[in-house]
């Protein structure tokens, strides 16, 4: 419970046995009495066992769907079990659970709240084509949402019942669709999207890619996704 709301934290995990227990433990320590759902996206390692041991509810997908599929499952679980708020959280340790109450409180004035890295908090920096892509995406999406959004690819989000209902029914599986397209669809569905500044940490496990080729591909893909999202019904 945060401010009288029933909150569910959803953590998609794919082969995160090394980090998952620590992440769940931290969420439960910071926010006692909150439910944590780990969606195991067909992991081959001991993610499921570790997550259960750490005290999370574990949903196990029969095969790998990608992060979008795992996230939608979280919203469907939230809808089925009548939660007021679903918080999207990452298993790699980037997100700080101490910001969850701020995200939830911001739902007073919005339906979807994004925890944004570049809004003054923290020292997370990205350079090169990836940074340009993020800047332009932010500018376009801010216009669409009629609110300043500086970190549209952040996976740290909270949704109220309206948001849960939308995403339980519809959530793209494609890479980037789960971040960029979901904002566009939420706005089009008449939901308000706002952001709250958060600081993020270096990943506990895994590494973000910084090669120029990958960054350029990322740039192209993000615009393709954005254009599709804008013309899709």
């Amino acid at each position: 419970m945060i401010g009288g709301r029933r909150v569910l934290v959803v953590i998609p995990a794919f082969n995160e046995a090394g980090a998952i227990a620590g992440v769940i433990g931290e969420v439960r320590r910071e926010l006692p009495g909150i439910d944590v759902l780990v969606v195991d996206d067909g992991s081959a390692d001991t993610t499921v066992v570790e997550a259960r041991k750490a005290g999370a509810i574990v949903a196990r997908l029969p095969y790998n769907l990608g992060v979008g599929g795992a996230r939608r499952l979280g919203f469907r679980y939230g809808q089925d079990h009548d939660y007021d708020v679903v918080v999207q959280f990452d298993a790699d340790g980037q997100h700080d659970p101490r910001y969850i109450p701020q995200l939830v409180e911001a739902l007073d004035a919005a339906d979807i709240v994004i925890g944004a890295r570049f809004a003054g908090e923290g020292d997370y920096r990205v350079r090169g084509p990836r940074a340009w892509a993020m800047t332009v995406l932010s500018a376009v999406l801010s216009r669409i949402a009629k609110s300043r959004l500086t970190d549209t690819t952040s996976g740290f989000r909270a949704a109220n019942r309206k948001g849960i209902d939308l995403y339980a029914q519809w959530f793209p599986v494609e890479y980037l669709g789960d971040t960029v397209e979901t904002i566009v669809q939420a706005v089009r569905g008449g939901l308000t999207v706002r952001q709250v500044p958060v600081s993020m940490r270096a990943r506990v496990a895994g590494k973000a890619s910084h090669s120029p080729v990958k960054a350029t591909v990322y740039l192209g893909r993000s615009f393709a996704v954005l254009l599709l999202a804008l013309v899709r019904r």
């Binding site: 997908l61 029969p62 599929g69 679980y77």
Partner: protein, 121 residues
């Protein structure tokens, strides 16, 4: 061997192949009918390649063979597009099923846990 015989044999093999797949229930009727239709067009054409010449002249294509090639490419493109659409739909359907299964498994685990506690108590 003349060209006519070669094309005829190909056409007939295609027709027999489709019928056999249908007979073994490997093809859904909707696709089976489509491919039988295709075979029924191809077989006469393979026996009498000159058949398309008059149609070709009518639509302004110099030779019937060119028209057949053009029509074939167009048709195959449409079939590919249709199959992409079908695959997208199937992926969405299997995704929904996978999610349902995961949700049901949680429910079963919960029930089993409650049951185990009842047994002990």
């Amino acid at each position: 061997m003349s060209l006519n015989v070669t094309t005829m044999i190909c056409g007939l093999i295609l027709l027999v192949g489709i019928l056999e797949l249908l007979r073994r229930r490997q093809l859904r009727e909707k696709y089976g009918m489509l491919w039988i239709g295709v075979a029924l067009v191809i077989v006469p054409l393979s026996i009498f390649p000159g058949l398309m010449d008059r149609v070709a002249g009518f639509v302004g294509v110099a030779s019937g063979v060119s028209l057949v090639l053009f029509a074939a490419i167009l048709f195959l493109l449409l079939v590919c597009l249709h199959l992409s659409w079908e695959v997208s739909r199937l992926e969405e359907e299997t995704r929904t099923l996978a999610e349902e299964i995961a949700l049901i498994k949680i429910k079963i685990d919960d029930t089993a846990k409650v049951g185990a506690q009842d047994d002990r108590g």
